[in-house]
């Protein structure tokens, strides 16, 4: 069942992609690994950046949530600052995931998170602190990282 649903969702996303999001399979033969190219939303420090987001779907999808990670380095409180780039999304937690949630919604949520980080739910405490207390510096660093890593 998971393959059918994933194929359907993929087809929908390819046919009518949400704003600033482009999806493709990382490997044409594997439905469960997606590469998502996400444009930094306008008005955020990530503007003009192009981020690679890796989406990994479990075989139990949609009963188990997908995993979202950033392939491009990004300065963000909710993305781990390591080579994994794991993203913490509330709706992706196993106990909050609903089988009726769709990948499009997940990706839109992830993009929205770039505009409005959730410092109270952060994985990078230091960045979260900075985001809350010294927004100017945060914006500056986020922009710098975007220029450095997310503009090819």
């Amino acid at each position: 069942m998971s393959q059918k649903r994933i194929a359907k969702e993929l087809a929908e996303l390819v046919e009518s992609p949400p704003e600033g999001i482009k999806v493709e399979l990382a490997d044409e033969s594997d439905l469960y690994q997606w590469n998502v190219y996400m444009e930094g939303p306008e008005g955020s420090p990530f503007q003009n950046g192009k981020f690679l987001v890796k989406l990994k779907l479990p075989t139990e999808y949609p009963f188990k949530p997908p995993a979202v990670s950033f392939g491009t380095k990004i300065y963000h409180p909710n993305v781990t600052n390591d080579d994994k780039g794991s993203m913490c999304l509330g709706m992706l937690r196993p106990d909050e995931w609903k089988p009726s949630s769709k990948i499009a919604a997940v990706l839109q949520f992830a993009r929205q998170l770039l505009v409005e980080p959730m410092p109270d739910d952060a994985v990078e405490g230091r960045i979260a602190e900075q985001y809350k207390n010294d927004r100017a510096r945060y914006d500056e660093l986020a922009k710098e990282w975007t220029r450095k890593y997310a503009t090819a």
């Binding site: 069942m1 059918k4 188990k64 106990d95």
Partner: protein
């Protein structure tokens, strides 16, 4: 064990070896008998058996011939005093008596008593009073730096008042020989041949010393704490069980938010899933039998009406969760909708495709809003509500009228049985769309734990503290 009293009495022995049957009983008023009660000081307790009184023949340990203490103690020890050889033939326990006059002489007496294997040694500091001698820590009993003498010897050491010591010493000189002492000469027992010796009985404290009482105190405190903890624990259990019961009642009544309580992860047992109805999906076109008239009346109007409806319906789209009043309006519309369905199903599908993502395309929207509102009370409405859902939210497949088998949850949402059953058995008991529990309100398969109660309590507290 500390000594409580020391009793010394003259005892008549009928012959050597006969002492085993003898008791330190008083043989008439004329015999010597002295009791020291409360004035005996314990200097060392080595080998003093618990509770057993020490009983033995009293004698003065002799020193080496060349010991200078022989001369030094002459004023205190009469020459014909009872010596070791006088008590040895009776093969009975022995208790030594010696004056404490100097460090060297005390050491000599201790050594000689050790050689003679006495059962106890009694010291006295020569004086003329009858007061209890100072305690074992007193400087009067200082022999060496570490008080090793108290543990070196294999017998306990006691001290008695000076006057009592002198009296005993004097009596020892009278009961030493084989002759019958003057006290016994007029006694009835004097006819019998025998030897008289002084026998000493040292009574020990019966476990009433200070340390045991301290232990007893500690034990009593520990016991009290234990009892109190048990009581507290029982009270806590009682309160918790009542809280659990209370929460369970609230859950069964549907008042508690299962998701906030973390109970939505509960898997649904197969037998409960089997009670949820399954039927073959039919879209609104097949509902014709319920309201055939409206369908016929609308069939002439054609596309103009349809477009008008579409317009109207699109407006409804925005009125999410409208008032109950809307229900009537909806029902009026259903008939027309059905007619439309029949005429051009393809167009209808097209509209749905346009709505992409919104799982409830235009037509269903009006009614789906009701489903997301607190459950519609009328069974009739609810069953129809399900027909407004055209797609399974889990596999995203369209239902095929008259073909697809669907399961309808208590909230009115329908899914393919294979899809929803997996979700219910493997992840959560909540509807994937509206998060309403599928579990019957009167049964709750998972026990409410203390943790759940705590979580509920915290939730309430945060709600109260919130502005």
């Amino acid at each position: 064990m500390a000594a409580r009293s020391l009793t010394t009495a003259a005892t008549l022995f009928t012959g050597p070896g006969g002492a085993n049957s003898a008791t330190p009983a008083v043989n008439g008023s004329a015999t010597f008998h002295v009791v020291l009660d409360g004035t005996v000081q314990t200097l060392s307790t080595t080998n003093s058996l618990d509770k057993d009184p020490i009983k033995g023949l009293l004698f003065v340990p002799g020193l080496d011939d060349n010991d200078p203490c022989n001369n030094l103690t002459t004023p205190f020890i009469p020459p014909n005093v009872t010596r070791h050889q006088d008590v040895l033939p009776f093969e009975y326990n022995t208790v030594g008596l010696a004056p404490w006059i100097s460090t060297e002489c005390t050491q000599s007496f201790l050594d000689s008593s050790q050689r003679m294997e006495v059962d106890a040694l009694v010291f006295y500091i020569p004086s003329h009073d009858n007061a209890k001698p100072p305690g074992p820590k007193d400087s009067a009993w200082m022999l060496d730096e570490n008080e090793e003498w108290k543990s070196q010897n294999s017998y306990p050491v006691y001290a008695i008042p000076g006057l009592a010591g002198a009296t005993l010493m004097h009596q020892l000189s009278m009961y030493s020989g084989d002759t019958i002492p003057p006290d016994f000469q007029n006694d009835s027992m004097s006819d019998k041949p025998g030897i008289t010796r002084l026998i000493t009985l040292i009574n020990l404290e019966h476990g009433e010393s200070k340390m045991p009482s301290l232990w007893g105190f500690i034990l009593a405190i520990l016991g009290t704490i234990l009892v109190l903890s048990v009581i507290l624990l029982m009270c806590y259990q009682l309160v918790q069980s009542r809280r659990r019961e209370n929460l369970r009642r609230r859950i069964e009544a549907g008042e508690a938010d299962l998701e906030e309580l973390g109970l939505h992860q509960i898997k649904v047992p197969r037998e409960i899933i089997d009670t949820i109805p399954v039927y073959i999906y039919a879209d609104q076109g097949t509902l014709s039998e319920t309201e055939p008239q409206s369908r016929h009346s609308g069939s002439n109007d054609g596309s103009s009406i349809r477009s008008a409806e579409t317009c109207e319906r699109r407006m409804d789209l925005d009125e999410k969760c409208a008032e109950v009043k809307m229900e009537t309006a909806t029902w009026e519309r259903t008939g027309d909708e059905r007619e439309m369905d029949q005429e051009s199903k393809t167009e209808n599908e097209q509209t749905e495709a346009d709505e992409e993502g919104e799982s409830h395309a235009d037509k269903p929207t009006v009614r789906t809003t009701h489903s997301s509102c607190p459950a519609s009370p009328h069974a009739g409405h609810r069953s129809r509500l399900s027909y407004t859902q055209t797609m399974c939210a889990i596999c995203l497949e369209e239902y095929e009228s008259g073909m697809s088998v669907v399961r309808e949850l208590p909230c009115g949402h329908i899914f393919h049985p294979q899809c929803i059953d997996t979700a219910l058995t493997q992840s959560s008991c909540l509807c994937p769309l509206c998060k309403k529990s599928v579990l019957p309100t009167d049964t709750y398969p998972v026990p409410v734990t203390n943790r759940t109660v705590h979580r509920d309590f915290m939730l309430h507290r945060s709600r109260w503290s919130a502005p």
